[in-house]
Amino acid sequence: MEEQELTQEIKPPANTKGAARWLKDNLFNTWYNTLLTCLALVLLFFAFKGFLTWAFTEAEWDVIPANFRLFMVGSYPQEQIWRVWNAIYILSVLMGLSAGLWGGLVRRFAVVLSGVWSISALLPVELSTRGWCLGANAMIAVSFFLGRGRTGLRPWILGGWILSFPVIMVVLRGFGENGVLTSNWGGLLLTLILAVIGIVVSFPLGVFLALCRQSNLPAIRWVSTTYIETVRGVPLITILFMGNTLIPIFMPGFDINQVLRMMIGITFFSGAYMAENVRGGLQGIPRGQHEAAQAVGLNYVQTTLFIVLPQALRSVIPAIVGQFIALFKDTSLVSIIGLIDLLGVAKSVIANPDWLGLQAEVYLFAAAIYFAFCYAMSYASQDIETDLGVGKH
């Protein structure tokens, strides 16, 4: 009986939790904090009142739907727009299958995506667009149910994702004169292509460079270090300009179009930063981990793949995703070279005499799109960290 009393659970004292308590502790705990809180509330009220009044009464949002196609795909020809939808369908199927196979984060993204298509279909758009939207939704739904529970498909779907990048490029480009020249790619489509290719290629490039920089072989270490330091010492815009003019000079006879040149520039630039992020993680791995792996008989490649990289990358997820987000936003620099990405479209719409003086509306819309994608990445990174138990084990 006595022992029971010793281990008896005692409830925490009342009034230590809850919203009211939090407000009191943090916002109204002293007379001057109370004063500051009230002042801040008044300021917030006026700021939001001003913004909301503008947004609902003065702003001319017509500019967005009127130029919506431009924002999304730039000057991609109308009669070839099915190519974009086909690319979207490929992604929808993969997304649906992955959502069914893995659930969790992918499923949440699939739900959001299908929500976007549903809302788009309800908006006053052309009948054909409505059809395409509903089709994409159906693709996600059908493949979700197809994928559910079939865990054996997982490696195939991963392969499918990797394969989807070149396939989508071909679908979007088509062949020769009948296709769509990359100079006609634009808007959000171009932004996404540059960003996704940049992320997908610069990540392994960065890991590779980081491993090289840690190598025992001086030549490899030296080359990698030189590359990283050189690229990091030059502004991205300079690299993009150089890529634009130098790549054709270095590779005469090859027809490397401007979009590809920008991809190369962005990827190489981001790879150098990625390498330093990854190196930070590599340095955090205690020597004992290498020794234990060696003692078990793992070779260098196995040690790197199964012991070092999983731990190193896990610990630098925030830095890596930060680099992804930076890269996504940096793609907007290609509009200086003359490509019409999302920001390029925004600038050209503002310059159009029909829509003079609507900078605020147009830039706000562009900013919202950038934010949506960057926030999605940030959200995903937090979710992945929780999933991997970072900081717990």
């Binding site: 234990a292 060696q294 078990v296 008989g297 196995q302 999983p310």
Partner: protein, 253 residues
């Protein structure tokens, strides 16, 4: 003396004039000794005497710069094939456990068998579970190392080494990082292993363990083997002044 007589017959580890430098610092100054199959040797000595460095040269975690080391007929050289061959025959347990924190205890054990011995996942898991049973923590298989106690982690580390079916087990101060109440659970496992006939080299300060389990005690000081003898002789009748001093200091507490 029995161990030394056997040494002429069939030594599984042969070391001849092994030298090692850390930059200019001469850590091992010519170690010549050998170990029999099934022998249980305890290596002791003051810190900095080179005892850890010595056993770490045996699976090439440290490179020796002079002399020869031959393990089960294979000489340790720069040849990666030899190194890999030897590492598969030599298991090692570290002072700081060095479990892989991102893998569960079970995965810690199955990784080597799957990747190096090329067992299937289910075969490796079967082996791992029976080893966890043997070290008495089968119930912790699906937890992560950070979720179990130090003594339990060290037992997982022992199971991880055993999963490679080594012929030799090296222990580098396996209980030095443990809280006192956890030392005995690890020593129990090592005792059981010793009775099973495993060849064991143990660097430790646990003199009770040495006296009870060892066939031979080697005393290292300043990079040399100062004295080696069966535990009864070593503890009750040490020959060298430095050994006497060390024993009196260790047994005081």
């Amino acid at each position: 003396m029995a161990a030394q007589e056997n040494a002429l017959n069939d030594p599984i580890i042969m070391c001849k004039d092994v030298h090692k430098w850390f930059d200019d610092f001469h850590v091992l100054k010519g170690i010549t000794t050998s170990f029999q199959t099934g022998e249980r040797a305890v290596i002791c000595g003051p810190s900095g005497s080179g005892k850890s460095t010595f056993i770490r040269t045996l699976n090439r975690l440290e490179e020796h710069q002079r002399g020869t080391i031959i393990i089960d007929g294979v000489e340790l050289t720069d040849d990666l094939r030899n190194i890999n061959l030897i590492r598969q025959e030599v298991g090692m347990v570290f002072q700081q456990f060095n479990l892989f924190p991102h893998l569960t205890n079970l995965e810690n054990i199955t990784l080597g068998p799957i990747r190096v011995r090329k067992l299937t996942k289910s075969e490796a898991e079967e082996v791992a579970l029976s080893l966890l049973e043997r070290v008495d923590i089968a119930d912790q298989a699906y937890k992560y190392p950070a979720e179990i106690s130090g003594g339990q982690q060290q037992r997982v580390a022992i199971a991880r080494a055993l999963a490679m079916e080594p012929k030799i087990m090296l222990f580098d101060e396996p209980t030095s990082a443990l809280d006192p109440e956890m030392i005995s659970e690890v020593l129990d496992v090592m005792r059981e292993l010793a009775h099973s006939g495993m060849t064991m080299l143990v660097v430790t300060h646990e003199m009770g363990f040495a006296r009870e389990v060892a066939d031979r005690v080697l005393f290292f000081d300043e990079g040399l083997i100062v004295e080696e003898a069966p535990p009864a002789d070593f503890f009750d009748n040490p020959q060298h002044e430095r050994t006497k001093l060390f024993i009196s200091q260790t047994l005081q507490h």
